[in-house]
Symmetry: C2
Subunit: 443 residues, 2 copies
């Protein structure tokens, strides 16, 4: 059997036994993994040093950026931060075993829809050593087996982190083989073909990378290709709020997917608003590009057609003057990426029109697009942000790593009496009983 | 613009306005469509006669089966049944606009996760005239635009049913273009490539057809390829219940996906159970195939390796003797199709082991696999049965045609104060307020 298939089969085997792991066993395993990372901090830093040495050689050859090497590099406090993050997943509510629907179909015939793990998750990510512990912790908590593939520049760091996660969780009773590491790019191509065995892919990285994955596999992909987020400043906007939101959404952290890339401005307030906006952006070093009408009001570079679709992830923003909220909605639905878009207005009806009309995973009224995040949304941890509409949309927490299963319990019931010319009617009474009560023998 | 792309774009345009349709408007539209079908019954039957005449010619040439022609053929009462089904969708609860999560992130900063339509659904189905009204009613009720492609043998019937659905619903205020019909097979291939515009495919038909769709598109597909359902008769089974369930699951309606295709029998009761099982199956005309050990007990055909994976959809069943519940679980997870599997036993622990260990969308204890169905499960109507694990699993009701969207409402909130060395903490208080209350101005 080929290497990847063998690993995936082992993971599948483990996955079949992971749906019923007691919450406390999973939490203990996570806490042990965290402790083990602190205890083996020296080895982790040693392995990471090898990666960094190689990366700095590439940096000198101009093949990698300083920012890349910085993201790769670990120190004592970063390792402790990773351990703390793993431990924090133990504190989250168990997403498995929740009764989503309970219905008495007839006397003695009870149906339960219960959340359960998806099965085998493939996680493919860039060269950041914190991703492996994070995604594997989330998979363990949600009862999924995981196949990990990290960026090759972090190979040594990933190897030791993988080993520590595997050993401490399997020692705690998590089925052997639940976590698997693959290395070469050739192995990724093989993984992408295993749609019979891998249930979900969670890729992290740049948009080209994610598009490549999406176009080369039949496995469902959870993720977003890009975040082209808009702030629309309405004619009824409180301009002070508008300035503060536009500033925060662009400047506070420009290289992330929920940062704003475009500001749309209602024509009736453009004359008053734009000079103030350009002033605060200029002070923060933001390059502003504008449509023809914007450039009649403020001196900025010209925005080309490509600008409306661009995700800069940098201190650049494009500004367009629009006729009204309808044009703003239309523009966003045409050029946006269905990630996160905000309106600034004091007019309730206009806000509602915008919120319901914009077809994005998160829509905001008088708040910065930067709030679009699993932790800030109260989901505890974030698997990713989905701009797809199937399965999960927007910031995705542990729930996005579960699916559901129907349990039907009868006393020998057969379908025959319920069909035909005078069928026995169903009761279809919703019940408050949970599957856990049935399982525990108290239901 | 090519024909299919033009239709899909028109549907997308309509879809953007369908998320906010009032429930009553949608229900009125469905009732008008139902009335219109009764009023135009004569035209429907006339169009159907053309289809049936052509099909009977093919039948004579041996290119179509009698069963096929029967499924195609409408009469007065069948048309009235279709109209009644359309009307019944109006009675179902609106799946759109439900508040799934409401959380106060901080004072004045409120988050709502709300169910909403998916967008544009592509429905590809076989030559049964009742499918077009059914799937388009479900799409309308869930606020989705729909692209319909029916079997070519029902072209005339589909054309008139499509026209009646379109005219009566658009007259009632549903956005023009929400329903589109495409014809040629070439157009289907074009549809499968439009993953930028079509959000979900709902194919109906045989497994080869569904596999073809799945392998030729990047659009997510909701559906099941096949139903290889098992009944496991445990050593602690009540044999009377077991006989009755095995009979119902195979004989009551053998050509459907939730009919049983295999019976697994615990070795310790095989001697007593199998002769009785073969007796009732034989009386019903069921061909029984058995493993080597089965054939030591009863005189039946030999089951080959292919039999364990086969979906007969006919009066054929294969029987295997297993060592214990563990072997039954292992066999089902290896050879089943993750659709529906049942255990017959009076032992609670064995039942729990089976129910939790079998990785299928529906698992049953002392009940016939034939209950696996949206209507019987109390979901009101069934979009299909999903054996995939992503988005929806098992019998899928209207909820499976929805996704969700996050609404965040602030008072000018920005992220900056919530990050950095001494960040403002979030409240993350769950709220009971719904998005509908906010919308209505009462929240």
């Amino acid at each position: 059997m080929r290497g990847v298939l063998k690993k995936v089969r082992a993971a599948k085997e483990a996955a079949l036994r992971m749906g019923n792991l007691p919450t406390e066993l999973k939490n203990d395993a996570l806490r042990k993994a965290a402790t083990s990372m602190v205890e083996h901090r020296g080895e982790i830093l040693e392995a990471n040093r090898k990666d960094v040495t190689l990366a700095e050689r590439e940096l000198k050859r101009g093949k990698l950026s300083r920012a890349f090497v910085n993201r790769l590099k670990l120190d004592r406090s970063k390792v402790d931060g990773i351990a703390k993050m793993v431990e924090s997943v133990a504190e989250l509510e168990d997403p498995v075993g929740k009764t989503l629907y309970a219905c008495k179909l007839d006397e003695g015939l009870e149906l339960y829809k219960v959340s359960c793990p998806i099965g085998v998750v493939g996680a493919i990510f860039e060269a950041r050593p914190d991703v492996l512990p994070q995604i594997s912790s989330l998979c363990l908590k949600s009862g999924n087996a995981v196949i990990l593939k990290g960026g090759k520049e972090a190979a040594n760091s990933n190897e030791i982190l993988f080993r520590l996660m595997k050993d401490s969780t399997e020692d705690s009773g998590v089925p052997e083989g639940w976590i698997q590491l693959i290395g070469a790019r050739r192995e990724v191509m093989e993984l992408l073909r295993l749609d019979e065995h891998v249930d979900l892919l969670v890729p992290r990285g740049g948009k080209e990378f994610i598009k490549f994955i999406q176009q080369n596999t039949r496995i469902p992909v959870l993720g977003h290709a890009e975040g082209v987020c808009h702030v629309y400043v309405d004619e009824h906007a409180d301009l002070q709020k508008a300035l503060s939101i536009c500033y925060d959404a662009k400047v506070q952290y420009p290289s992330v997917c929920n940062a704003a890339e475009k500001v749309l401005v209602h024509r009736s307030i453009a004359g008053e608003f734009l000079p103030r906006l350009v002033e605060i952006y200029s002070k923060a070093g933001v390059e502003v590009r504008g449509c023809a009408r914007t450039r009649e009001i403020v001196k900025v570079k010209r925005a080309t057609k490509q600008d409306w679709r661009a995700e800069y992830l940098d201190l650049v923003i494009s500004v367009k003057i629009v006729r009204d909220v309808d044009e703003a909605i239309e523009h966003i639905n045409e050029y946006g990426s269905k990630h996160t878009d905000a309106i600034v207005t004091e007019d309730r009806n206009t806000a509602m029109k915008f919120l319901e009309g914009v077809d994005s995973s998160s829509v905001m009224w008088n708040a910065s697009t930067r709030f679009s995040d699993g932790y800030r949304y109260g989901l505890g941890a974030e698997v990713g942000i989905s701009t797809g509409k199937i399965h999960a949309r927007g910031p995705v927490g542990l729930e996005g790593l579960t699916t559901s299963k129907y349990y039907l319990i009868g006393k020998g019931h057969v379908v025959a009496p319920y069909v035909g010319p005078s069928p026995k009617p169903f009761l279809h009474e919703l019940m408050r009983k949970t599957w856990n009560e049935v399982k525990g023998g108290t239901g």
